[in-house]
């Protein structure tokens, strides 16, 4: 068996094995469906509630995407601005690094007080928590630019802006995309938590409502949809990275 084939078969076999074991355990010990529904129960719930799931996935995805895009614009923008002034950078950067350490999800109720229980608060939360990894990685990328390249362009009498546009910005793309990947997962988390706390729409709302009704199969079906969206979103960022790489001719 070639190594590449094995790398594809082994994980698939492992995942299928876990699912089969789960199904067998539920069937053998007759766990109540409330506690642990079998994978087949979850698939059934997925099919029965397909309409509701898609309906609730739309607002979740909308708020996540909008928050992520806004966080990208703000993060890249602020990092770029700060890269022009050492003094401002020294004043602002440590504060943002410190904020990076605190559990930001816990601030969700504060944003709901400020922005109400509608979609604006969910958008704000997604933006807020996705902003930090994007900003910090962009900042790291701009600082990691090869010094000799920067000096070379300065000695070729390039203006600060031209050096930024032609040297520093392109050089920071690898860093930026590692931040974007973290930001993409965090944006989903932010929206879901906000939907847990106060919402009448979205997958987070559906999950919490099903928990109150003890419909565990529907919770897990909603989570399956959410995983699909999350992985798809991550894949999109990954594809974006590949496109930028190709465009830069690497």
């Amino acid at each position: 068996m070639s190594d590449r084939l094995r790398a594809a078969i082994l994980p698939t076999a492992f995942a299928l094995g876990v699912l089969a074991l789960w199904q067998a355990l539920v069937m053998a010990f007759h766990y109540p469906k409330v506690v642990l529904p079998a994978p087949t129960d979850i698939v059934a719930a997925l099919i029965d509630n397909a309409g509701a799931l898609v309906h609730q996935a739309v607002p979740t995805m909308r708020d996540t995407l909008a928050g992520f895009l806004l966080a990208t614009v703000l993060g890249v923008g602020l990092a770029s601005l700060l890269s022009f002034s050492r003094l401002v950078r020294d004043a602002v950067y440590p504060m943002i690094v410190l904020l990076q350490l605190v559990p930001k999800i816990a601030w969700t109720p504060l944003f709901i007080v400020w922005a109400g229980i509608g979609w604006p608060s969910r958008l704000t939360i997604a933006t807020f928590i996705a902003f930090f990894p994007i900003f910090i990685s962009m900042m790291a990328g701009l600082e990691a630019t090869d010094r000799s390249l920067v000096r070379l362009s300065a000695s070729l009498t390039a203006t600060g802006w031209r050096t930024f546009r032609l040297v520093r910005f392109p050089a920071s793309m690898t860093y930026l995309f590692s931040g974007l990947k973290i930001g993409a997962t965090l944006a989903v988390i932010g929206v879901i938590v906000a939907e847990f706390i106060s919402s009448s729409e979205g997958l987070g709302f559906l999950i919490l409502k099903s928990a109150a009704l003890l419909q565990t199969d529907l919770i897990l079906a909603a989570i399956a949809v959410l995983c699909l969206l999350g992985v798809g979103f991550y894949g999109l960022v990954h594809a974006g990275e590949a496109a930028v790489r190709r465009w830069q001719g690497e």
Binding site: L10, F14, Y93, L98, L101, I207, A211, L214, G230
Partner: protein, 259 residues
């Protein structure tokens, strides 16, 4: 000597003064905004008001911070043990790793917080459920970092150890673990913030005790000053735990360096 000291003072000043000015400006802006009357005090109380609330309610806040703090410590401690142990076990065999690693990456990507209500169905609405959920979400970054770290040893070092006929256990502790430690600690740093998030999220949903409960309760009652005071205390909890792991990292890496 004197010259070096002035340089030290100057670098320290350069590192401390701008951020201090930044914080002062932020607090000033916040005070001005609160005093101007543009924003309702119900939405944004002045820093002074928040400080007074913090002083007045410190007893209550500390009482509620205790379960949050303890649950987060239990969460990260168990997640660290499990994550490092499983990471070592998975790394022992190449095939095992090939089979399991993609599943781990998948779990790393999905929004695990969405599973919180399921944990509450499984483990009840007490502190135990919060701790277990906290372990669950803090575990993955530690596991992934341990696996990545154990792969970070340059192959020539391993081959050198083998050709010196070192036993596998000695290669592990003497060669592979030192290379893995910085990775493991970076995983622990992510894990510790996740552990706090897990506990607070559990408290949001069960709403019985803890700082998460206070935050949600004061948000529902528009007691924004108490809300901000509770968030400030939670930040202290987060930074304390983070600081502990930073210190542990410094100590462990120094011990390994001196050997």
């Amino acid at each position: 000597m004197a010259g070096r000291m002035t340089v030290d003072v100057r670098t320290a000043a350069r590192q401390l003064v701008p951020p201090a000015i930044g914080v002062a400006m932020l607090l000033g802006l916040w005070s001005a905004l609160a005093a101007s009357g543009l924003v309702k005090p119900r939405l944004l109380p002045s820093p002074n008001k928040v400080w007074q609330t913090l002083e007045r309610s410190i007893g209550l806040l500390l009482e509620q911070a205790t379960p949050t703090f303890l649950a987060a410590i239990a969460g990260i401690a168990a997640a660290a043990l499990l994550g490092i142990a499983l990471g070592i076990a998975v790394s022992a065999s190449r095939r095992l790793m090939q089979a399991i690693y993609p599943t781990i990456v998948f779990f790393q990507l999905i929004p695990k917080v969405a599973l919180a209500p399921v944990f509450l169905i499984w483990f009840g609405h007490g502190m135990a459920a919060n701790v277990i959920f906290s372990i669950f979400i803090a575990f993955f970054p530690v596991l992934v970092a341990t696996i990545a770290g154990l792969q970070a040893t340059p192959p020539t070092y391993e081959r050198l150890g083998e050709s010196l006929m070192m036993p596998r256990l000695r290669i592990f502790f003497g060669v592979k673990l030192p290379f893995a430690l910085p990775h493991i600690f970076s995983g622990l740093r992510i894990g510790v913030t996740f552990a706090v998030i897990g506990v607070v999220l559990g408290e949001f949903i069960t709403a019985q005790a803890g700082l998460g409960y206070i935050i949600l309760f004061s948000a529902n009652n528009f007691e924004t000053a108490l809300l901000l005071a509770a968030i400030a205390l939670l930040c202290v909890v987060g930074v304390l735990l983070f600081g502990f792991f930073l210190a542990l990292e410094a100590v462990v890496l120094r011990v390994y360096d001196s050997r």
